[in-house]
Symmetry: C2
Subunit: 290 residues, 2 copies
C-alpha cells in the first residue's frame, strides 16, 4: 500500500487557529441526540461530529478547570455518538470473532471487552468496547467509523446467519470519583456489584437499561446504554428524563456537564498511535475487561 | 427491522436555531483538504463534516445571491470530501457489480455511472458516482458513509482478489454555465470532447488528472479528481497551485467560491428520499451516465 505523502493535510493544522471565526455548521445532516437539548441548556460551547452525530466538546469551564473537577467530583457526558452495532443470531459470535484478533471464546455474558477491529492489512479501523448481552447477542460500542457497514458487508460476503442493526441506544457517561455514590442514588445498591468492564441490567422507570462500569477517567465511571423503547416512551422525553434525574441527584455531588474527549477518537485514518497508549495504560491498571 | 420511533432526534431540529452560538468545533480529528487554506482566505463562513473531512458550507454571499451567481457565471467548490474508494485487481468488476443493482456489464472505460449502493435489505447506504478507469480499476466517488469499509469487508468475506484503498484524490468542482470556457482556458480545447458523465485524462503541470463533466448544477460543470503524486509534489502546494490557476483564469468569468450543498448529502440514515428526486430529475434530463 502506498503511504500518503507526509504533507497530506489529514488534520486541522495550527494554521486553522488563525481563522477561529470559521466554525462547523450545525447542519441538519448531523444527527442530534436525546440529550442535545439539555447540553445546549447547560451552555455547551462547541460540538464535533462522531459517527454522523453531535459530540459536545466543551462547556463554560476551561479545560484545566474541567480536568480538576473531573478528578475530584462527578460529570455527566453525552456520548450518544458511541453508536451500537448490534449483532444477533446463530452466527453472531462467529462474526464477532472474525472482526477482532482478541479471543472471545471465554467471554461471559455481562462482560465488556475492549477489542481492536482490524482491516485486511491489520490496520486498526476502530477500537470499540464489545458487550456480550447473550450467547447470540452482542453490542459493539464504536469509535468514529461506520463499523455497521463493515460488519454487515463481512457477514454478507461470508453468508453468515446474523442480524445486524444500529439500535436506538444513546450512551450517557457518568464519570469521576463520586460517580458510584450518584449511581447508587439513582439505580440502587446493586450498582456496587458491577465490577470494572462488567455490566448489569438495571431498571429505570420500568425499562431495562444496560449499565456498565467503564469509561475514560481512571477515578471510576459508568456508562448507561440508554435504550429508547418506542412502545413506552418518546425518545427525547425519556432521554431528558434520565438526564434530569441524574442531574438532580448529582447536585449534592457538585455535578457538571463534561466532554469525553478534548483530543481524539479513533478514525479509520489515525489508527496507529493512540490505541497502544490506551491499551497499555488500561491493561496495566485494571485488567481491561479480560 | 424495527423502525426508530418517529420522534427519534436524528437531525438538527428548528429548536437548535435558538442556540446559534453553539457551533461545531473545527476539531483536529476532522481532516482538512489541500484547498482548506484557500477557502479560508476567501472568507468561508461555515463548514460541515462529510467522510471525516471538512466541506465548506457557505461564503459571504446569501444563499439566494449565490444561487443566481451559479446559474449565470462559474464557481469553484472544494468537494474533496467526496472520497474515492479505489477498487483494482482481477476481481474488481465482480466486486463493483456486487455493490450495486445497476448493471455495469456494458460500462466502458472513461464513463461515469451514478450507482446506488444498497445494504442487505435494499436500503440505500450511499449514492456515489462510479468511474471506470480501466477494466480492472474503478473509483467510487462517495457520499457520506465509509464505503471503503463496506467494500473491503465484502471482498474479505467473498475472498475476492482485489486491492481496495482510499487514494490521495481531492475532487475540485467547477460549476456553472461558464465552466467550459474556463476549463478550456486551463486544460485546452480537448475539454470540449468530454461528454456529460464522461471523463478524460488531462495534463496539469506534467501530471495526469481525471477530469469529468459532471456535478450538481444543471448549467454544466466539471469535476477535477485532483490526485497528489507524492513523488512529484507536496499535496497542499500542488492543490493550491491548481486552485490558484483556476481562480486566476476565472477572473474574466466572474468566478466565486461556492458550496456543493446547502442541504443534504446522503447519509446511511437519510437514504430514502433525496435519491429518487435526484435520480428522476437527472435521468430525464441527460441520460445520467447510462
Amino acid at each position: 500500500i502506498r503511504r500518503p505523502p507526509r504533507s497530506t493535510p489529514l488534520y486541522s493544522s495550527a494554521a486553522s487557529d488563525v481563522y477561529k471565526r470559521q466554525k462547523l455548521n450545525m447542519s441538519r445532516r448531523i444527527r442530534r441526540t436525546p440529550y442535545t437539548g439539555m447540553v445546549e441548556k447547560h451552555g455547551v460551547s462547541d460540538f464535533t461530529v462522531v459517527n454522523h452525530m453531535l459530540l459536545p466538546k466543551g462547556f463554560k469551564n476551561s479545560v484545566e478547570k474541567d480536568y480538576w473537577h473531573l478528578s475530584k467530583e462527578v460529570q455527566i457526558w453525552d456520548v450518544s455518538c458511541q453508536r451500537q452495532v448490534q449483532i444477533s443470531g446463530p452466527d453472531a459470535s462467529k462474526l464477532v470473532q472474525r472482526l477482532t484478533p482478541r479471543s472471545i471464546t471465554k467471554m461471559e455474558t455481562g462482560k465488556c471487552f475492549y477489542i481492536p477491529i482490524l482491516n485486511e492489512n491489520a490496520g486498526m479501523i476502530n477500537d470499540p468496547v464489545l458487550l456480550k448481552l447473550d450467547d447470540d447477542m452482542f453490542w459493539i460500542s464504536i469509535a468514529d467509523s461506520d463499523i455497521l457497514l463493515w460488519a454487515k458487508a463481512y457477514a454478507l460476503g461470508l453468508n453468515l446467519n446474523v442480524n445486524i442493526q444500529e439500535p436506538d441506544v444513546y450512551p450517557l457517561a457518568i464519570q469521576g470519583p463520586k460517580s458510584e455514590s450518584l449511581m447508587i442514588k439513582v439505580f440502587g445498591e446493586d450498582i456496587k456489584k458491577i465490577k470494572f468492564f462488567n455490566f448489569r441490567i438495571m431498571d429505570f422507570e420500568g425499562t431495562k437499561q444496560v449499565v456498565a462500569r467503564s469509561g475514560y477517567s481512571k477515578q471510576d465511571g459508568f456508562e448507561i446504554y440508554f435504550k429508547a423503547y418506542d412502545s413506552h416512551f418518546d425518545t427525547i422525553e425519556m432521554g431528558e428524563k434520565l438526564w434530569k434525574t441524574i442531574w438532580d441527584a448529582g447536585q449534592e455531588f457538585n455535578i457538571t456537564p463534561g466532554s469525553v474527549s478534548y483530543t481524539h477518537l479513533t478514525l479509520p485514518t489515525n489508527r496507529y498511535v493512540k490505541i497502544s497508549v490506551v491499551a497499555v495504560s488500561l491493561k496495566k491498571k485494571r485488567g481491561w475487561g479480560g
